[in-house]
């Protein structure tokens, strides 16, 4: 049932995230191939650190070093490429530790209406969830919730604050 929903979602409109997720599992060199949001090129340092820790790459110490907050553009729900490597590593950890689970909390900046932003936050959390699942996590290990603009990470107006509030926070519920 759950898998069916995911397939439906992917087929309906989330093809971009899906393609992006697949492409990065198949290549470690050309981030541009995924081209999900045109933001390519900024392969993050942390991602190489994790990859360098070896194939096992799934003990707690390594997971603790991974990026857990993923940022989005205004009114967008496409996961940026610089988050892919760490999300893959989270997915790997989850697939190797079936008892572990995460909660994905989607957020929006304060611009726009509150209910629309709740929907946007959910879309963002779902985009991250799909990336985890295509990379090996099981659907039962991931729960999502959206807070919309209700729980900003930082107060204040202007793009500097807003950029930090358009995010998905990945939190381990059990390790």
């Amino acid at each position: 049932m759950r898998a069916l929903n995911l397939m439906k979602a992917a087929a309906l409109g989330a093809a971009v995230a899906w393609v992006a997720g697949c492409s990065t599992t198949s290549t470690t060199t050309d981030g541009g191939a995924g081209g999900a949001d045109g933001q390519g090129g900024s392969g993050s340092a942390s991602s190489y650190g994790v990859d360098g820790s070896g194939v096992s790459g799934s003990d707690m110490a390594d997971v603790n070093q991974l990026q857990t907050v993923f940022y989005f553009d205004f009114d967008q729900s496409v996961v940026k490429q610089d988050g892919f490597a760490d999300l893959e590593a989270h997915a790997r950890y989850l697939s190797q530790n079936p008892g572990a689970s995460v909660r994905l909390e989607g957020h929006a900046d304060e611009r726009g209406t509150r209910e629309y932003n709740i929907a946007l936050g959910e879309r963002r959390a779902n985009a991250v969830e799909r990336l985890l699942i295509v990379n090996g996590a099981s659907a039962s290990q991931v729960e999502t919730i959206s807070y919309g603009e209700e729980k900003p990470a930082v107060m204040g107006q202007g793009e500097a604050s807003w950029a930090q509030n358009r995010r998905v926070e990945l939190k381990y519920v059990s390790r």
Partner: protein, 433 residues
Amino acid sequence: MVKFKSVLACLVLLVTGSLARAELVVEVTQGVAEPSPVAVVPFNWSGTSALPEDVAKVVEQDLARSGFFSALPRESMLGFPSRQSDVYFRDWRVSGSDYLLIGRIEPLGEQRLEINFELYDVLKEQRLMGQRVESTPAQLRDAAHYIADRIFEELTGLKGAFSTRIVYVTADRRADNSNRYRLMLSDWDGARPRTILESSEPIMSPTWSGDGSKLAYVSFETGRPAIYVQYLSTGKRERIQSFKGLNGAPSWSPDGNQLALVLSKDGNPEIYVLDMRSRQLQRVTRHYGIDTEPTWAPDGQSLLFTSDRGGQPQIYRLNLSSRDLERLTWEGNYNARPRLTQDGRFLAMVHRPQGGDFTIAVQDLKSGRLDILTRAGLDESPSIAPNGSIIIYASQEQGKGVLAAVSLDGQVRFRMPSPGGDVREPAWSPFLQ
């Protein structure tokens, strides 16, 4: 003869938090071009112990805060008549008053009062209206709002909305960085604020039922969003929907039998209609885009809602029987949170012009004309007074959420500065009783 039953007196609070929350107060920033000058004389009280409310003052504030009237200061009055025989029209003409309101309050036995008021046209030296109102000391403020409604209607032809109430949400950040969210109920002007729900998790989207007896809202108190219905008379409440995913944006049908809401249980946000008696749920939108913020047309035949199915949020109207769908907004790249006037003609919304900020705008559905009413930049949550005269909305001042209002023609504006934390999501009640 009018008797007042106090709705608030039997209100059971869900929380034992402080009742005397800091109060919001209306500050008119712009009135009509030529507000009518009115003199509201202090009402004569023939009892012995002091009354808990200055009735004439409440009436005067209501009239002045509407933006349609300017009130003569009491210190400029040459006398305080309370009967027609004591009125010297020349005095009031000299003071520049077009209208004069006088009144008297008399004890009617234990805990009962009688108020008589009379309204005069000063220039014509004519009595326009008068009425006798029965009240109790505890309900004097209700009586005053009632009198203001009568006078407003007599002089403007518009039904007064001073006896209505608003609900709104406050968020206070505490020292440990956690938040305290409160759902508040007050008079239209912010007076008599009461906490009706308090939580450490967000409270959103409060909305009134058509008869004003209950609210629906979204609360995250369980850690996930769920829709609740709360009865104002008893404080009793019920969790209505808590599916996986979003449970949001509730809106009562005009007859109160149905609740439109948003659920994402089937994968993405869709609009559903819940029959409140059978509890049957009917899905009414089918699109992979975001569909949210439903609101009923006054005839109950269609729903207006926000959808980004065209690539950006715009407002659509869905006929519930024919299932015809029509896009209503075309100007600007963000139109959301529709609300209709009672006659169904004017659509208030959050609007962002190309390259601009978030404003409150109103569209005449007959002519298609759109007017931008505000310029503050982050305005949202418009809610229209039941007489269709004014839109209350959430704005920001110095980074803090505040309530403000603007009339549909843009002539009257007021703000309600917050003495505490963020104030947001105002919802204006329907006419009560």
